[in-house]
């Protein structure tokens, strides 16, 4: 693994360190001493890509070795996916690519024509995209999709290809491959689909496989299996380039890591070095930003001057009467077949004033429905929610309305929760008017809106913005400001950071904890991300198929899981073992 970053005009000092690490890198893989030196497969030097005059990849260089995995890590807009596509000559329309050296084995790929590229794709380089539901053609049979590289490259006849497809599906661990091959992608579960996609990518046994966010759309347990599959392929000598935003996923599979930011590789080296001893400020910040058990009780974003992370100053939790109490909630929906399906089954919990209760579960576990019942946006089929011991879910619409301001909500996608015609000032003024102290006039509304913006770390300038013009993190801050406006006792956060990049996620999580420390707000925090949950929550409910399978204090559940499902989740969870 060798990376020569030839454009270090901003971070000179760090770049030097990085370059030193780079020269050391090729020796590193043979750390044990016995293993043979790795064989370089793909050489990229001085790669630049621009779209319509804007450079998005700024002269990067890297090498991928046979039997090893190179991870290119970065947040959205870092240029990592563009880089991956450029390596197979599919940068896209309107792009300009220049490269000093682009070699696969002993083959020069720079300046290839489309026809020559087509002979490389699929045969020399396999490509796995993010979400198999949209990356496989829904109208064609899985078997045809898997065998398509064979057909494209004229390998075997129809019958031989069909047999090979089944063989491939079997090799990636798809049960009943004959049946699956005859089905269409939408009839398969997410995990099986992703396996089929990988089967297709390795159909011609290419020496290089590029996987672009292969586990991002998957639940933790399924994602782990997919990573194992790629690891198996690696151990058979395939070179893997893994494109990911998730450092924990990278830690599980990669041997070498290149960290990208703004089109440049800011740091690169063996995975152990990068994760344990990061040199570049951005890599450090990125690692700091990953929430986990280690980050509990501290901020995720290091202060600009400080070496140590600041610790939270928690307010005491009032363990008297619970703020909100759910008793034996059941929610059934009528399915298309006319049968009732219970998505929430006998869920009970209580949240005390000032604490954070986390609900964690994979997709379809019923966690969002539970949150909606708590918000009284959907009535439970049976069971009841009490607010400070008084009826809440059982109230009539009209009686509940004045009390609604006591519970706020922050959604995963803030943009869709804002009326597209409204600017920030109107959104906040509207929310303020619902609180116990509605502003008397426009001046007061404006003053208090500005206070709110300040509280969530936004400035005066944002008051008149349209949410559409704000960044994802800023939008979520506005959403939090709106939730705070009516001075609620409880805020329900439904996957509030799932759509954000990790560094922005860190800022938003820090904001939420700060608000709790300042104002004593209580959170009901819903997430699929165990790291986020462990970082944020005092107590946890683990949900699966509509039921609470385990509950208790955060450390208790994470350190000594009793239920097999929780144990499975925690084993599957890719973790960052960072020495601190």
């Amino acid at each position: 693994m060798s990376i020569v970053d030839d454009r270090n005009d901003t971070d000179g000092a760090v770049a030097v360190t990085a370059a030193t690490a780079a020269t050391a890198a090729p020796a590193e893989p043979g750390a044990a001493g016995a293993a043979p030196p790795p064989v370089p497969l793909l050489h990229v030097e001085g790669l630049r890509v621009s779209f319509a005059g804007t450079e998005v990849v700024k002269g990067i260089s890297f090498t991928a070795y046979a039997g090893r995995c190179l991870a290119i890590v970065g947040e959205s807009g870092s240029g990592k996916s563009v880089t991956a596509r450029t390596v197979v000559g599919l940068t896209g329309a309107g792009s300009e690519v220049s490269v000093d050296r682009l070699e696969l084995g002993d083959r020069d790929l720079s300046g290839l024509g489309e026809r020559q590229w087509r002979r490389i794709r699929g045969k020399e380089v396999g490509f796995v995209l993010q979400d198999a539901l949209v990356s496989l053609d829904q109208l064609r049979k899985v078997g045809h999709e898997v065998a398509e590289p064979l057909a494209v490259h004229g390998v075997g006849d129809r019958r031989a290809r069909a047999a090979k497809a089944i063989e491939l599906l079997e090799s990636v661990g798809v049960p009943e491959p004959e049946v699956r091959a005859a089905q269409r992608p939408y009839e398969l579960s997410g995990g099986l689909r992703q396996r089929a996609l990988i089967a297709s990518a390795i159909a011609l046994d290419p020496p290089l496989v590029i996987a672009d966010e292969p586990t991002t759309a998957l639940d933790v347990t399924v994602g782990a299996q997919v990573l194992d599959l790629l690891a198996a392929s690696k151990s058979r000598g395939t070179s893997i380039i893994l494109i990911s935003h998730d450092l924990a996923v990278v830690a599980r599979l990669a041997d070498d890591v290149a960290v990208m930011k703004g089109g440049e590789i800011v740091e690169h080296g063996p995975v152990e070095d990068i994760l344990r001893n990061p040199q570049h400020a951005y890599t450090k910040a990125l690692l700091d930003a990953v929430p986990s058990e280690h980050t509990r009780g501290t901020h995720l974003v290091r202060p600009a001057d400080g070496e140590e992370k600041t610790v939270r100053s928690r307010r005491p939790v009032d363990r008297g009467r619970p703020l909100i109490e759910a008793r034996h909630l059941v929610k059934a929906f009528r399915g298309p077949d006319g049968k009732d399906r219970e998505v929430v089954r006998d869920v009970s919990f209580e949240v005390f004033s000032g604490e954070t209760l986390g609900i964690v579960g994979e997709s379809g576990s019923g966690k969002t429905t539970t949150a909606r019942i708590a918000l009284a946006l959907t009535p439970p089929t049976s069971g009841e929610v009490l607010l400070r011991g008084e009826p809440w879910s059982a109230l009539g619409l009209r009686q509940r309305r004045p009390a609604r301001s006591r519970i706020g909500v922050v959604y995963q996608d803030p943009l869709s929760s804002f009326d597209p015609r409204w600017s920030v000032d109107r959104i906040l003024a509207d929310a303020l008017s619902r609180g116990p102290r509605p502003p008397a006039n426009a001046t007061e509304a404006r003053r208090r809106s500005l206070e709110l913006l300040e509280q969530v770390g936004l400035g005066h300038g944002h008051l008149t913005s349209a949410p559409l013009r704000l960044s994802g993190g800023q939008r979520q801050r506005v959403a939090i400001a709106r939730a705070l406006a009516p001075e609620p006792e409880l805020i329900v956060c439904d996957e509030p950071v799932s759509a954000l990049d990790v560094s922005v996620q860190a800022q938003v999580l820090d904001l939420l904890t700060d608000l709790q420390d300042e104002l004593g707000v209580t959170y009901l925090f819903i997430s699929h991300d165990l790291g986020v949950i462990h970082h944020m929550c005092d107590r946890i409910l683990v949900m699966k198929d509509g039921e609470v399978v385990e509950s208790g204090g955060a450390d208790e559940v994470f350190d000594r899981p009793r239920h097999p499902y929780t144990q499975q989740l925690l084993t599957a969870l890719p973790r960052l073992e960072v020495a601190r």
């Binding site: 197979v88 087509r118 794709r121 494209v152």
Partner: protein, 315 residues
């Protein structure tokens, strides 16, 4: 089970449509017997009771409305569409003689329109600014063309100025060319627009990128992956398109003097022969509704997702 339900709802829609046409006949201002006698004698005047009597009896206007209604709907079930005011013959025979050339015209136009639309989109979607602009420009233009104008221009250019085709078409094959084109060109523009939008989206989909990463060439990607997805919305709209075609056929038949229900219909509207108009409208509605069922079925052939019960998984 699902099909049975579908058929039942088709019957319900047709009965409702029949009720609409029945009440349409009642809504004609003035006394119906008077209207009929006026029509048959070609003048406006008052008629005596003895003159009106036989007409009222023949058409059953003396009976209570409910009886008239049941008689009308009952007749429909036996395939009897009623009696024309002007020609003193059954609406059945009026329509029966004319429906086949109209069906030939609309069906051929649908086929030609699809061929044109697919051809143009395949050749021009995402092919660089100029070619793409040419293709979508043609579609916008063609889709905005009123049928009568296409008909008139084709007639003037290809039958009058350069006499390749006959001015009065008749129902022969050669005379059918211009009417078919007249109907097909605007429809091709419309279907092309819809198909192009979808094609454009599909070619940006990850599964198309995946196909390209397997080394598939552009033409193969378009044909094997793009096309099938791209025609789906167009197929959904083909049912609607049939309605537009029937409307257009009325006009095209008029321009080219081509036999068909369009001619009969316009004459009947002009003479305010409401039973004939109702009958034709009802028959067309029937054809239309059945055609839409066929469109649904063909949709399921192209899109297997609709055949499966696990469709929820894709939502």
């Amino acid at each position: 089970m699902k099909l049975a339900f579908r058929l039942l709802s088709v019957v319900a829609v047709l009965i409702a449509a029949a009720s609409v046409t029945f009440f349409a006949q009642l809504m004609v201002p003035g006394d119906r017997a008077t209207t009929i006698l006026n029509l048959q004698n070609g003048r406006e005047q008052e008629w005596t009771a003895s003159e009106l009597g036989p007409v009222n009896e023949k058409f059953g206007f003396d009976n209570p409305l409910v009886v008239q209604y049941l008689h009308y709907v009952g007749g429909l079930f036996r395939g009897d569409l009623g009696t024309s005011y002007t020609q003193y013959q059954s609406v059945n025979s009026v329509i029966g003689a004319q429906i086949v050339p109209s069906l030939v015209l609309t069906a051929s136009a649908l086929v030609v329109a699809w061929a044109l639309a697919i051809g143009v989109t395949l050749l021009t979607v995402k092919r660089g600014r100029f070619v793409t602009g040419l293709g979508s420009g043609w579609e916008t233009f063609a889709a905005s063309l009123p049928t009568y104008w296409v008909g008139v221009v084709l007639l003037v250019v290809l039958a009058v100025k350069v006499p390749i085709f006959p001015v009065i078409g008749g129902s022969g094959a050669w005379g059918t060319v211009l009417p078919v084109l007249t109907l097909a060109i605007p429809l091709a523009g419309f279907l092309g627009q819809v198909t192009r939008d979808e094609f454009d989206k599909v070619l940006d989909q990850p599964f198309v990128t995946t196909a390209r990463t397997r080394g598939m060439g552009d033409t193969a990607v378009r044909l094997r992956h793009g096309l099938r997805h791209a025609v789906l919305p167009g197929i959904t709209l083909s049912g609607w398109a049939l309605g537009a075609l029937v409307s257009g056929a009325v006009i095209a038949e008029n321009i080219y003097g081509r036999p068909g229900i369009g001619q009969v219909l316009v004459t009947a509207v002009n003479t305010r022969d409401v039973p004939t108009v109702s009958g034709i409208v009802l028959v067309v509605a029937g054809v239309y509704v059945v055609a839409n069922v066929l469109v649904d079925i063909s949709y399921a052939v192209v899109d297997p997702r609709l055949r499966s019960h696990s469709r929820l998984a894709t939502a």
